[in-house]
Homo-oligomer: 218 residues x 2
DNA sequence: ATTTATTTTTAGACAAACCTAAAAAATAAA
DNA sequence: TTTATTTTTTAGGTTTGTCTAAAAATAAAT
């Protein structure tokens, strides 16, 4: 139905649309590491396929058909990430590139059987929601740890970055997806936080770290 | 390193070489469903990449480097087939096309972790050997069931066709990979065989079926 | 309201992988 | 050993997805 290149564009438009309704040629160019001229070419093509609405110079957005396609690709991407981490013991900093390839395997039977095999997970290893077979996303009322008041118990639900540096730091501090904790103190000087991890010790983390960790009340 | 198209050609040359040392342009054309002219183009390209030795009009064969590459692709293909059947409950008549895509996922880490996850299987669901991480193939001294003498106990090791029609027939007769049986009688009139399946009933199969089933003595 | 800077599109090319039609080489038949 | 048939290659095109360089449109600054 769609080529790998087309799928990557569709997914990129979807992701950029989370930030702002209308997506610019330059934003896509940056996201996909291609030149703006190439983006323009592809946008024309996707328009004729009715995947996007696009008027020259005025940006682009996904049609409802386009959204469906995007969610299908994202579903595959995140299910494969889950598989890699949960079954093959990859670290969550290593899975993105591989999933970037696996997401283009076309068989829907494969995706659905994989989903079942994994036990219909709702969130991928980075805490991002996995669309179900109908494209529905579970939503979580999550917020940044940096905005949580003192002495409220929360659970880590997602990370705002997927770098190995972040993973290294989290491992060192004893934090991971699902960890429950309570903010004990916030230091005005540098914004650092003291956290009490459920059933474990107290750790100190930087403001930088707190502002890439999403949590939900528990 | 190699494009999907290149990999498909390399694999095709490997497979055709099992039949005859030198592979013809037309044979590749038939195998890959492309025109001979396209094959010629690709052969020139693969020659400059030192993957094959090729002289115009005189056929083609893999270099030692080419063999390594081919075995790597076949390893991925068969490991994925095993995964699909063993973990995702696909029938072995459904896995080939999907594996045809999955075999091109490049990460070697993925392949090796998949191999470990599956328990280092030696044979794929069709009974074909899976190359190990160094490209080594397990060999079996297998022969066609149609050539087995009466009252010798053998085990089904492989199938010579991967069609769903064959699978349907095998299922119906209660035969599958690993089934042990003994040839009770061979009818000269039509070459049909009467088999006693270990711990089960006696079944009759056609000569056509017997000549696509590989077995080994046990 | 012009001028300047940025963004986006057009124009023209290129590599990859395919195609058809025609020419050339190799093989088989007469 | 000619002639006919088959196989393979060459020549010239097409589509997809990319690029650079230049033009056009939009946005920002004076
Ligand atoms: Mn991708
Ligand atoms: Mn993810
Ligand atoms: Mn393939
Ligand atoms: Mn197989």
């Amino acid at each position: 139905m769609f080529t790998v290149a087309e799928e990557n564009y569709i997914k990129a438009v979807y992701h950029l649309q989370q930030q702002q309704e209308m997506v610019s040629t330059n934003a896509l160019s940056a996201e996909l590491q291609t030149r703006p001229a190439s983006v323009t070419d592809m946008l024309k093509k996707l328009k004729t396929k009715r995947i996007i609405s696009y008027e020259p110079y005025h940006g682009v957005k996904l049609s409802s058909e386009g959204k469906k396609v995007a969610l299908g690709i994202i579903r595959k991407h995140r299910l494969w990430e889950y598989f890699l981490v949960d079954k093959l013991q990859f670290g969550w900093d290593e899975v993105h590139e591989v999933a970037e390839e696996l997401e283009h395997i076309s068989s829907t039977k494969l995706v659905d059987k994989l989903d079942a095999f994994l036990g219909y997970p709702k969130f991928d290893p980075h805490g991002d929601p996995i669309p179900d077979s109908k494209g529905r996303l579970a939503s979580q009322q999550q917020e940044l740890l940096s905005g949580i008041p003192i002495s409220k118990t929360v659970e880590i639900t997602a990370v705002g970055s997927q770098s190995s540096e972040l993973l290294e730091l989290l491992k060192h501090k004893g934090l991971q997806m699902g960890t429950r904790l309570e903010v004990k103190k916030i230091f005005d000087f540098d914004g650092s936080l003291e956290l009490k991890i459920k059933n474990q010790q107290v750790v100190t983390i930087s403001r930088d770290l707190a502002s890439v960790l999403f949590v939900k009340p528990v």
